[in-house]
Amino acid sequence: MGTLTMAPAAERDAGRLRRNWRRLMRVMAAHAVLITLSIVFLLPFVWMVTTSLKTVDVLNAFPVVWFPEKITFSNYLDGLQVFPFARYFVNTMVICALSMLGAVLSSSFIAYGLACIEWPGRNVVFVALLATMMIPFYVTMVPLFSLFREMGWTNTYLPLIVPHFFGGPFFVFLLRQFFRGIPKDLLDAARVDGAGELRIYARIVLPLAKPALSAVALFQFLAAWGDLLGPLIYLSDSDMYTLSLGLTYYSTQYSTQFGPLMAASTVILVPVIVLFFFAQRTFIQGITLTGVKG
C-alpha cells in the first residue's frame, strides 16, 4: 500500500527533474549560441582597436597577428598629421549641436500643434507630413542643392542645419505619439487657469516629454555625426570638412595605411559609444516608440 502511494510522487519528482534538466540544457544551449554570436558581433570592434595600436612591422606581418604584444600610439599621431582631427571634430560638433537644437525645438513645437490643440486642419498637416516620409532623399537632393547654391549657401553649414529647424517627419511622428499620452485634462486645467498655448507648451508639455525629447536629440546627433552625403555635396573647402567626410577622402588617398585609418575610425566611434552607454535606455525606448505601433 505504502509503495503504491509513493510511486506517483516519485514519478512526479522524476518528471520535474527531467523537465528542469531539459530546461537547463535549453538555456545552456541558448547561452552557447548567444556567446558565439556575441563574439562574432564584437570581433570587428576588437579588430579596429587592436589594429590602431599595432606597429608597422606587426601591421605588415603575415600571417596576421591578432593581438600585438607591443602596442604603440603612433598611428594616432600619424593619423592626426594628415587628418586635422581637432578641426574636423569641432566642425562636426557645431553641425551636430545646431541641428539637434533645431530638431528638438521644431519637432516638439509642431507635434504640440498636432497633438495638443484640436483644430480642423491638423490631420491634413499630419498626413502631408507622413507622406513626405515616402519621398526618398535622392529625389529632392539635386533641386535642393541647386536651390541652396543659388542662395549662396554652398560651402557653408546652413544647408546641413537650417532644414532641421522646420521639423523632420520622423521626429514629429515620434513626439506626437508621446504628446498624445499626456492627459488632456492637465492641459485643459492650465487653459482654464488662463495659461496661453505657448506657456503650456514650454512649461507643461516640454518638461513632461524629456525622455522623448532626448530620444530625438540622440537620433539627430547620430544622424549628423555619421552623415556623409550632406557634407559631401555641400562642403568644398577642406577646412570645413566633417569627420566623416575627412575620413572618406583620407581613406581614398591612403587606402592601404590601415593603422592610421583604424585610429581615425576609432576616434570617430568613441564619442558615439560613450553616448550610447550613458543613454542606452533612451535609445531602445526611442526605437520601440517609433516601431510599428500606430
Binding site: S106, I117, W119, T140, V142, S251, I284
Partner: protein, 296 residues
C-alpha cells in the same frame, strides 16, 4: 464664445505647425516639382534648363550602365533584406527564451548599428582585405581559402551583404518588441494542447510578429534602394571592381555631381522612385493581407 475658441484654436494650430508647413513647401514640394521638371530637361546647373521632353527617359532605357546599376541594387536588396529579417527574428527569439544577461546580449547586437557609416565602411574594407584582413585569416584557420571580396567583381556584392548583416540590431529590437506582445497564456495553452515548438512558432509567435516583419520588409526595401555611403567610401566613389558595386544611388550621384547631367540624374531619381513605389504597393497587396493585426 464657442466660435471664438474655435478660431483661437485654429490660429494656434497654424502657428504651431507653421514650421512644418513652410518646411513642406520649401524642402519637399518645391524640390519634388523641380526634380520632375528637370527630368524633362537638359540642365548642367550653369545656364537655364532646356526642355527636351522624354529624351532622358529614352536614353535611360538604352543605358547599359543604368541597367547594371539597377541589377546591382536589386541583387543587394533581394539578399540583404530577407537575410536581415530572418537574422533579426532569430536573435530576438534567442533573447526571448528567458536566458539571463539578456540586456547584455541585446547591447552587444545593437552596438554595430550606432557605428558611423564611414567608420564602419573603412573598418570593413580592412576586414575584407584579401591578405591582411580578419575575415580571410579567420577562414584560413578553418581551412577555407577566402575570395578577394571587394577586389573580386563576383564577390564584392556578397561582401556588402555580409557587412549589412552586422547592422541587424535595429530590426532585432523591433522584433523583440513584437515577441513581447505574444500573450504568455496563449503559448501555455498551445503547449498543453500538445503543439510542438515549430507549430507554436508558426501559429502563435509568427502572427504576432508579422506586422513587425512587414514593417522591416517595407523599410528595408525603401532603404535598400537608397544604399550609398558604404559603396561610396569603399570604392572611392567609383562602384568598382568592374562596376560590380555601382548601385543606383551612386550612379545618380555621379551623374548629378561629377558629370553635371542634372536632368539625367533627375530622370534616374524618378525611375527609381516609381519602381520603389510599385514594389511597395505590390508588397502590401501580396503580404499585407497575411499580416495579423488582432494583437491590438
Amino acid at each position: 464664445m464657442r466660435s471664438r475658441k474655435r478660431r483661437r484654436d485654429l490660429m494656434w494650430g497654424l502657428v504651431f505647425t507653421s514650421p512644418a508647413i513652410i518646411g513642406l513647401l520649401w524642402f519637399t514640394a518645391y524640390p519634388v516639382l523641380a526634380s520632375l521638371y528637370y527630368s524633362f530637361t537638359s540642365y548642367t546647373m550653369v545656364g537655364p534648363p532646356k526642355w527636351i521632353g522624354w529624351a532622358n527617359y529614352a536614353d535611360l532605357l538604352t543605358d547599359q550602365v543604368w541597367w547594371s546599376s539597377l541589377w546591382n541594387t536589386v541583387y543587394i536588396v533581394v539578399w540583404s533584406v530577407p537575410l536581415g529579417i530572418v537574422a533579426a527574428l532569430g536573435l530576438a527569439l534567442l533573447l526571448n527564451m528567458g536566458v539571463g544577461g539578456r540586456s547584455v546580449y541585446r547591447t552587444v547586437f545593437y552596438l554595430p548599428t550606432i557605428v558611423p557609416a564611414v567608420a564602419s565602411a573603412v573598418l570593413w574594407m580592412y576586414i575584407f582585405d584579401p591578405q591582411y584582413g580578419l575575415l580571410n585569416d579567420a577562414l584560413a584557420k578553418v581551412g577555407v581559402a577566402g575570395p578577394g571580396w571587394l577586389s573580386d567583381p563576383g564577390w564584392a556584392k556578397p561582401a556588402l551583404i555580409v557587412m549589412s548583416a552586422w547592422g541587424v540590431g535595429n530590426l532585432m529590437v523591433i522584433m523583440l518588441a513584437g515577441l513581447q506582445e505574444v500573450p504568455a497564456t496563449l503559448q501555455e495553452q498551445a503547449s498543453t494542447d500538445g503543439a510542438g515548438v515549430l507549430s507554436r512558432f508558426r501559429h502563435v509567435t509568427l502572427p504576432y510578429v508579422s506586422p513587425h516583419m512587414l514593417f522591416a520588409l517595407v523599410t528595408g526595401l525603401i532603404g535598400g534602394f537608397q544604399f550609398f555611403t558604404p559603396v561610396f567610401v569603399m570604392t572611392g566613389g567609383t562602384g568598382n571592381p568592374a562596376g560590380s558595386t555601382l548601385v543606383s544611388g551612386l550612379y545618380l550621384y555621379q551623374n548629378a555631381f561629377q558629370y553635371f547631367k542634372v536632368g539625367y540624374a533627375s530622370a534616374i531619381a524618378w525611375m527609381l522612385f516609381a519602381l520603389v513605389a510599385a514594389i511597395t504597393v505590390a508588397t502590401f497587396r501580396l503580404v499585407g493581407r497575411r499580416v495579423y493585426y488582432g494583437g491590438r
